[in-house]
């Protein structure tokens, strides 16, 4: 049995794949009734979770990585493997993905119960689960790239789930295009890495377990300049996938998808794949200080910019989307300053509380009859107490108030930035803004008077039970893994390099971040809470230019639109004209040349046999003359 568990780790992603295939076949052949598939998918995820836990239980001390490679493709000396590689970081991801997605799949049953695409939705969920789990288990960069693209496809399908809505279709295409840019960079980066580290590999190439040696060889072969460029190309993948500046614009639009998807893919798991990739590639990135600096700054700026945009959002899901972006910025920044385990710790805590926050927002939207605008909410505490309570827990967790989970992980990141004053400043400012905008959404949604129409109601148990379950890790997981209460800390379980490290508490940073968080909370309360001491309108009028900037999301979308319409479209029109006139013209010219010369030449063929004979004889004579004159 234990051998079975140990040797069949590859089954973990296969369970959801089987569920996916069964649903597709079942619905296609009509064997399965229209609203089915739920049990299959949830069971497949549950099996994956149980398998992961069983494997974890008998993994043994030290948690030494488990790796198996099969030969997937052999082309001359190139040997592309397919296999699995589990280390502590991978195990953490497996646990997060299986547990969060199982809860979300249960929740989906309530949220999507009236949707005609019920089965299709579950099929996509299973497909996503398969891709994401395979990505996490990938033993090498190529395999990861394959599943990286597959999660992109799932994301595309699910953003455009309601494809009859033009906005959803556009958002899906936008996500796909933005990710294409990043994936292109990633692919070029992977190939460059393979090229430079070619001499290193004997046997399976680009395996994560041998990335350290390969990175050394690649650095020696490429020189620091090319190596840095290669690192940045690889990093372009995570930039798009994890919605970092400047390829972030797809994530807020991705909220067009159903809310469970926003929770699962665009908050908890898929967008974290970028961070996970950076963590997997840490031996490569750490060799290029420039690349690390760029990564840190991209993360910090993303965290800051996203937080500022979130300040003005009135759509509850968009506000949460920018908050996700901001938190991903934290994680990427942590990667950039070398605090890999702090970044992954935040990834883990964030996955739980952000999934919960999104599910809460889904519950609110569901209860308010598909209303997403927070200006038409308010006072929902009375109507949906469980949702409100869990949302409050999530808000406190993300804000970073002691002792909720977000505090511990975010604090580790902020403490790690302590030696970089500018990054530290950005991180702390972002933390303050996070507290403000999260409590702003909370107060706007759940406090005050109800400003909408109709009668909001609490969601059914199938929806609030997952919320309640997610609340537990949102409160506790940070403290448990902080290393302060007898359990091993996250940094001792998941570490990069040779030694597990014990996180020392940085009391000054802790105090500062709690103070900042409470400051943000207080400001939000003064503006949107009970007393309404500071009017939001006054703010808007006083800081008009800033407000305009933030309301328009720093004009990123407008800039991209004008780049697309002013530069790209005219260029495309020019290319199209060139293609039609010059290229097609040349092709047409050659065709018509043949045509014209053909019709001229065919008059030679009179149909009279005697003419042919005469011409033949004439030709023969000429040939004979030539042979006689020049050959003899």
């Amino acid at each position: 049995m234990s051998d079975l568990i140990h040797n069949c780790i590859w089954l973990i992603p296969v369970y959801p794949l089987i569920a996916f295939i069964l649903i597709v076949l079942g619905r296609w052949t009509g064997i399965m009734p229209p609203k089915s598939g739920k049990s299959l998918v949830i069971a497949s995820t549950f099996l994956g979770l149980v398998h992961t836990l069983l494997f974890w239980a008998q993994w043994g001390p030290g948690y030494s990585p488990v790796e198996v490679n099969w030969n997937w493709l052999q082309a001359g000396p190139l040997q592309l493997p397919m296999g699995y590689y589990i280390d502590s970081a991978g195990m953490m991801m497996l646990l997060v993905v299986t547990s969060v997605s199982m809860l979300i799949q249960i929740y989906t049953h309530g949220y999507m119960s009236h949707d005609p695409g019920y089965s299709r939705f579950y099929a996509y969920l299973a497909l996503f689960n398969f891709s994401m789990l395979s990505l996490v288990l990938s033993s090498n960069l190529f395999q990861m790239y394959v599943f990286w693209e597959l999660v992109g496809v799932s994301s595309f399908l699910l953003i455009g789930f309601w494809f009859t809505r033009p906005s959803a279709a556009a958002a899906a295409v936008k996500a796909f295009l933005m990710n294409r840019i990043g994936d292109f960079g990633l692919l070029v980066g992977i190939l460059t890495l393979l090229y430079f580290s070619w001499d290193y590999w004997a046997g399976p190439v680009l395996t994560f377990s041998h990335m350290g040696g390969a990175a050394q060889v690649a650095l020696a072969a490429a020189g620091p300049m090319a190596f840095t460029i290669m690192c940045l190309l690889v990093f372009l993948g995570p930039v798009a996938k994890s919605a970092q500046l400047p390829l972030h614009t797809w994530l807020p639009d991705a909220m067009e998808g159903p809310t469970p998807i926003s929770a699962l893919i665009h908050a908890a798991t898929m967008v974290a794949a970028g961070v996970f990739l950076v963590a997997r590639m840490y031996p490569v990135f750490t060799l290029s200080p420039t690349a690390m600096t760029v990564i840190a700054w991209v993360g910090a700026l993303t965290a800051f910019v996203a937080a500022t945009i979130a300040l003005t959002q009135v759509d509850i899901k968009k506000a949460l989307a920018y908050s996700t972006m901001s938190q991903l910025g934290y994680m990427v920044m942590a990667m950039g300053i070398g605090a890999f385990s702090a970044g992954l710790f935040h990834l883990m805590t964030h996955a739980f509380f952000k999934a919960m926050l999104f599910l809460c927002s889904g519950s609110v939207i569901h209860g308010c009859h598909d209303e997403q605008d927070m200006r038409r909410m308010g006072g929902l505490w009375k109507y949906m107490p469980i949702t409100a309570a869990t949302y409050l827990i999530g808000t406190v967790a993300i804000t970073g108030v002691l002792p909720f989970s977000g505090f511990w992980s975010k604090d580790e990141i902020i403490a790690a930035t302590a030696s970089y004053p500018l990054l530290f400043g950005l991180a702390v400012a972002t933390a303050g803004m996070t507290a403000f905008y999260m409590f702003r959404t909370y107060f706007m949604t759940f406090h005050g008077k109800y400003r909408g129409e109709g009668h909001p109601h609490e969601s059914p148990a199938v929806m609030w039970v997952p919320l309640a379950v997610l609340a537990v890790p949102s409160i506790l997981i940070g403290a448990i893994l902080s290393g302060q209460f007898g359990f091993p800390g996250f940094g001792e379980l998941v570490y990069f390099g040779h030694h597990p490290h014990h996180e020392e508490l940085n009391l000054a940073v802790m105090g500062l971040s709690v103070f900042i968080a409470l400051g943000g909370l207080a400001t939000a309360w003064l503006m949107y809470g009970g007393p309404n001491v500071i009017s939001p309108d006054w703010f808007r009028k006083t800081f008009q230019p800033v407000y305009t900037l933030l309301w328009n999301k720093w004009f990123f979308d407008d800039a991209y639109t004008s780049i697309a319409t002013k530069i790209y479209l005219p260029f495309a029109a020019l290319s199209s004209w060139f293609d039609r006139t010059v290229i097609d013209g040349l092709v047409g010219l050659s065709a018509s040349t043949v045509n014209v010369s053909g019709s001229a030449m065919r008059t030679l063929q009179s149909g009279r046999v005697q003419t042919y004979v005469a011409l033949f004889v004439a030709g023969l004579l000429v040939l004979a003359l030539v042979l006689w004159k020049w050959m003899v």
Partner: protein, 104 residues
């Protein structure tokens, strides 16, 4: 004493062949055209026999060859005549000028 040698035979066959070729190219009557083809074939036959005598008297391969050619050309002529009759039935003419359908 005047001796008939290879060159005389060759001269004869060249003349015969050229007359045949000229006939093929110029005659408007299809029957005459067929006859001219026969003329060319016979020129070749004479050629073969003459060369055989010149190269090796004891070996009759040239003569055998010319008999083969005679046989084949007889078959060919009969086929040609059959085609000609079919054409004549259709066109009521043996004028080569009018047989010009073999083109684009």
């Amino acid at each position: 004493m005047f001796e008939v040698g290879l060159y005389h035979y060759l001269g004869l066959t060249v003349i015969l062949f050229c007359i045949g070729l000229y006939g093929v190219m110029s005659s408007r009557n299809a029957i005459r055209l067929l006859m001219c083809i026969e003329l060319m074939l016979n020129a070749v036959n004479i050629n073969l026999v003459a060369f055989n005598n010149y190269v090796n008297m004891n070996d009759l391969s040239g003569q055998i060859f010319s008999i083969f050619i005679l046989t084949v050309s007889a078959a060919e002529a009969s086929v040609g005549l059959a085609i000609l009759i079919a054409l004549y039935r259709k066109r009521v003419s043996v004028d080569m000028e009018r047989f010009n359908l073999l083109k684009w």
